[in-house]
C-alpha cells in the first residue's frame, strides 16, 4: 500500500500535465520512434546476403554528390577520423582541438563503374569481410 501511494502522486502529476497540454503524447511517441528507441538492430546486408563493395580511402565522408554529366560521385572526407570524435561542431563536440588546425580533409571522386581492376574490396557479407581481414 505504501508503494502504491508513493507512485500515485507522480502518476497524477503526469496525467495532469498531459491533460493540460504540457506533454504532447503523440509528439513524444514520434520522438521515440524517430530516434529509434523501439527499433531493433539488424543488418539487411547480412540477412539478404547482398553484394557489397567497400571503397578504399573513403574515410568519414559525410556527404556525396553524384555529378550526372561526368558520372562521378564527389565525396567530402575527413583527414584523421580520431579528430572528428574530439572536435566536431555539428555534434557540439569541442573536447580537444589539438591537431584540427593542421588537418586538411579530402575531396574525393568515385567512378561508380565496376571494372575488373582491383580498386576496391568486394565481399558478400560482413562475415566474409571479417574472414578476409
Amino acid at each position: 500500500m505504501a508503494r502504491n501511494s508513493f507512485l500515485l502522486a507522480p502518476l497524477i502529476a503526469v496525467m495532469a500535465a498531459v491533460l493540460a497540454g504540457y506533454i504532447n503524447v503523440a509528439g513524444t511517441y514520434r520522438f521515440f520512434r524517430v530516434f529509434g528507441v523501439f527499433r531493433a538492430h539488424q543488418s539487411t546486408i547480412d540477412n539478404e546476403g547482398l553484394e557489397v563493395v567497400r571503397l578504399p580511402e573513403t574515410t568519414y565522408c559525410e556527404d556525396l554528390h553524384h555529378h550526372q554529366p561526368s558520372g562521378l560521385i564527389f565525396a567530402a572526407c575527413e583527414a584523421k577520423p580520431e579528430l572528428r570524435h574530439a572536435w566536431f561542431p555539428p555534434l557540439a563536440i569541442f573536447d580537444d582541438v589539438t591537431g584540427v588546425a593542421e588537418a586538411q580533409g579530402f575531396i574525393k571522386t568515385i567512378d561508380p563503374k565496376v571494372s575488373s581492376s582491383a580498386q576496391a574490396v568486394c565481399y558478400r557479407t560482413s562475415a566474409d569481410a571479417r574472414h578476409r581481414q
Binding site: 524517430v34 560521385i73 579528430l83 574530439a86 569541442f94 588546425a101 568515385i110 561508380p112 580498386q119
Partner: protein, 325 residues
Amino acid sequence: MKVTQLEYENFSSSFMTHGIDVIDDPDTAPGKAVYIFAVNHRPNAKYYGPERDEKAHKADSVVEVFHHEIGKKTARHIRTVKHELIETPNDVLALSPTSFLVTNDHFYREGTMRLIEDLVAYSTWSTTIYAQFERINADEQESDRVQASVALRGIQNNNGIGRGRHENEVVVATADGGSAYFGQLKREKDRVTIEVTDEFHSESTLDNPTYFIDPYANSTFDASGLVLAGLPKAHLLPQTARSVEGRDGAIVWHVQDRRAAAADSARGAWEAKLLLQDNSDNIRTGTTALLVPIDPAKEKGGGRRAWLFVTGFASKNVLAVKIGL
C-alpha cells in the same frame, strides 16, 4: 570502382569537412569541369588563439569554393565564403558558380539550449541561407563581396539540402525531426527564398537527401524517388559520438510519390520503402545515400537493380551495395 583524391591548388587552410555539392561549369562543355562547394568547420582563431576571446564562438565555419577539371587530379581553390548569417553550416546546394543555399543546422551551438533545440520539435530556430558572391583579390577578406539572406525559416534543425524532382525544387531534411520538406525556389533580384509546398515524415532521423531520377523508367516501372539516409538508433549517439570504436548503424529509405496520375492534389502521397539497415557491422552511421542504376539490359536475369552508395560522418568506408529496386 575507382577512388581519386584531389590535390588542392592554392589552399592550405585547415579543412574539417561536412556537406558538399557540385555544379557544372557553364563556361565549358557539360561534364568537363565543375565548381565544388564544401562546408569547412575551422577552429576559430579568436577563441583558440594566443589572445583568447572567451566570448567568441569556437568554430569559424565557412563555405569553400573550388574549381575542378574532370579527369584531372587537382582542385583549384577559388575563394572562401564567410558571412555572419552562415553560422552552423551543415549542407550546401550550389545554384550557380557564384551562389548557393546553405543550411544552418542549429541556432544554439552547445549547452542546454542546444539540447532543447534537438529534443523539442517546436524549436524551429535554425535557417537556410541564400548566399551570392564575387571573386575576390588577394588583398580582400573572406567576407568581402558576399551577400546573404534568409531563404527558409520555421523548420527545426535544417540539416541536409538537395535537389528535388525538377530544377526549381529543393528538399530540406531535418535530422531531429525525421522529416523532409519539399520547397519551391522563389527567385527575386538579389535573393532566393524557399516556399515549402510538401513534406514527408519518416521513421528515423534523416540527413542529406538525394533525388534519384530513373533513366530506365517506363510505363510499368519507375524507381524515381527520394533517397534518405539516417541513423536507426539515434538515441545512442550521445554515447557513441566521442568513440572511434562506437557502433551506430545506418538506415536508408526510398520514398516515392504514390499519388494517382489523375490526382489534382499538389501534395504527394509519399510511401517509404526500407532500402537498407545496418547495425554497424558493415557501415557506421548513415548521412548520405544515392542510387546509381544498373542498365537492365546488362543485368543477368533482367530485373531492375542499382548500386546504393551509403556513407556517414563516422563511416570507415563509403559502401556500395547492390540492391533490387
